[in-house]
């Protein structure tokens, strides 16, 4: 067996999310190759070559792949992937965009968001917002798989010495072009990679009150998230959403503030190691998953919490 992993990166740095897929690939077993598709991204290939357990890095450097446009990258993945038994990528917005398209080009039914590997063609994955875990078996010759990052530990980023092979030829479908990107610049860790996450819900009342989380996040080195209710209410942008339809996180510590604990929010955070809930409603469902619950008005508790850290 041989496994191709599609790397997540920004043309200069290999995103650590990729390391979760390398671990999943190790469980499946076989030679592990990483595809770095981008533009001016040789530094990423160098980093990928050092990842423990990687046998080969394929570098596809072309303007057509600069912004990870699905139309172009999926053609490349389908083209290269035809020689592999498995094609993996960690569940980022790029992977969710590209992998099903590549699977359809290969006439393969993709498997989304696997949380465990049973054997080389059998996997577990959450369905219905994680209320149910399904065990599924693929009969396709090539398995196209999106890996739930929080379900697999990151493998060591160093210790490997893979050869880097340039991929020639470029795939430009000519269907789409990049215009702009508005990426929130933050000194805080990324939500999906943070060891501590503090999230606010509808109970925060408005967007300005999210500033109450800043001081705590600074002291804990935490990322700041939000429930879908807070996003729907327009308090904060959608890229902060933790939940079934937002980001899935599993930090060492998750602090839910003013979040009632709707099914779809729990789906995004209940694999966190320690969960703290602060809510003034003592019957809020969030308390049923919290290790430590504090029934209190968040406007009193948050300043006190910040001062105590």
């Amino acid at each position: 067996m041989s496994i191709l992993i599609v790397a997540e990166h920004d043309n200069s740095t290999l995103n650590v999310a990729t390391l979760n897929s390398v671990t999943a690939a190790g469980v499946i077993g076989g030679d592990v190759h990483i595809l770095v598709a981008g533009h001016g991204c040789s530094a990423v290939a160098d980093q990928a070559a050092q990842v423990m357990g990687v046998a080969k890095v394929l570098l596809a450097d072309s303007a057509a792949y600069a912004h990870a446009l699905a139309e172009n990258v999926a053609l490349l993945v389908a083209n290269l992937g035809a020689g592999y038994s498995h094609i993996l990528a960690t569940s980022t917005s790029n992977a969710k965009n590209i992998m099903p398209r590549a699977a359809a080009l290969l006439d393969v039914q993709a498997i989304s968001d696997i949380s465990a590997v049973v054997d080389a063609d059998t996997f577990k994955r959450p369905i219905y917002a994680g209320n149910v875990i399904a065990t599924v078996k693929s009969s396709d010759a090539i398995k196209v798989i999106v890996v739930r990052g929080t379900a697999f530990d990151a493998c060591p980023a160093e210790g490997g010495a893979a050869a880097i092979e340039a991929v020639t030829g470029e795939h430009d479908a000519g269907k789409s072009s990049f215009v702009s990107e508005a990426v929130a610049k933050s000194d805080r860790p990324e939500l999906t990679a943070a060891e501590v996450v503090i999230s606010g819900g509808r109970g925060m009342g408005n967007g300005e009150n999210f500033a109450l989380l800043d001081g705590i996040a600074d002291k804990l080195g935490a990322a700041i998230g939000a429930s879908r209710a807070a996003v729907d209410a327009g308090f904060v942008p959608n890229d902060m959403q933790v939940g079934q339809t937002g980001k899935i996180v599993a930090p060492d510590l998750y602090v839910a503030v003013g979040i009632s604990g709707a099914i779809q929010h729990l789906a995004g955070m209940k694999d966190s190691k320690v969960i703290v809930a602060i809510n003034k409603d003592e019957d809020a469902p969030i308390f049923s998953v919290a290790d430590y619950g504090l029934v209190a008005d968040l406007f009193d508790a948050l300043p006190e919490f910040e001062a105590a850290l």
């Binding site: 139309e71 917005s93 969710k96 965009n97 099903p100 398209r101 590549a102 699977a103 359809a104 006439d107 393969v108 039914q109 993709a110 498997i111 989304s112 968001d113 959450p126 369905i127 219905y128 917002a129 209320n131 149910v132 875990i133 078996k137 009969s139 396709d140 479908a173 269907k175 072009s177 990049f178 215009v179 702009s180 990107e181 508005a182 990426v183 929130a184 990324e190 804990l220 879908r228 959608n238 890229d239 959403q241 079934q244 339809t245 510590l253 209940k270 190691k273 969960i275 703290v276 308390f287 049923s288 998953v289 919290a290 430590y292 619950g293 504090l294 508790a301 919490f305 105590a308 850290l309």
Partner: protein, 250 residues
């Protein structure tokens, strides 16, 4: 300009489903069914395109059991002009659904295909991307804003770090994210009118689509239950527990 919008009948988002006792599947007996929330956003976007004068006709399509007619009627009540049901009693996987939709699109030649980014039952997030691949057209997934300008579309997408804007040539597929719009409620007169709008029936076999599953569901189970912990009295006790018991802060 013709818009095709694909919808799916799913378990209502308020329902907490459970596995059947024998673990053979999810227990869906007597469970409330609804139109998938993201599909509802896609229908709303189609209706807004028509209200802006961009779209002239909206065709709603679903692939599913006969009861899925209810969700097509919902789409018609919201403003779709006619509907097509690709009827099957099997649970189809995204690739098969995409193949059925491709056959419909080949016949209907829509300029814009709208659908939800993900259905909240299988949580696959695949069908739009697969249909785009099969048709060889562009895809704008996880859309939060759609502007049609002649033969091109400008689409803003929700990506991990924020927002990304692309331009794509028509025809294209747009999959709706949460913030694309806020769907309206169907009015009673429109619900009544929807009953008279045309609804065609076809089947995967009629469309010449092989829907043999590639991925079989062997079993389903409940996730590991998380035990509820303790309630602390105050912030001081919380900080103490986090430092000395859980040891997650220092």
């Amino acid at each position: 300009m013709k818009v095709l919008v694909a919808v799916k009948r799913v378990v209502d988002y308020n329902v907490k489903v459970r596995p059947k006792a024998d673990g053979s599947g999810v227990d869906l007996a007597n469970v409330k069914m609804s139109i998938n929330p993201f599909c509802e956003i896609a229908v709303e976007e189609a209706v807004r395109l028509k209200e802006k004068g961009v779209a002239t006709e909206i065709v709603a399509v679903t692939v599913g059991a006969q009861q899925s007619q209810e969700q097509l009627r919902t789409a018609l009540a919201l403003g779709a002009d006619r509907a097509i049901l690709v009827s099957t009693d099997e649970t189809l996987e995204p690739l098969s659904i995409a193949k059925c939709l491709k056959a419909i699109c080949d016949a209907e030649s829509p300029d814009i295909i709208l659908m939800g980014k993900q259905a909240i039952d299988g949580d696959n997030n695949q069908t739009g991307q697969m249909l785009a691949a099969l048709m060889g057209i562009g895809q704008a997934t996880f859309a939060s804003e759609l502007v049609i300008d002649g033969a091109n579309a400008s689409v803003t997408r929700e990506v991990d770090g924020g927002l990304q804007t692309l331009t794509l040539s028509l025809p294209l597929i747009v999959t709706a994210d949460l913030r694309l719009n806020e769907p309206r409620y169907a009015s009673l007169p429109n619900i009544m009118k929807a009953k008279k709008k045309p609804l065609d029936n076809t089947t995967p076999a009629d469309l010449g689509v092989d829907v043999t599953p590639r991925v079989t569901q062997l079993s389903v189970e409940l996730p590991a239950e998380r035990q509820a912990g303790i309630k602390v009295d105050d912030v001081a006790q919380l900080v103490d527990k986090l430092k000395n018991e859980a040891k997650v802060i220092s």
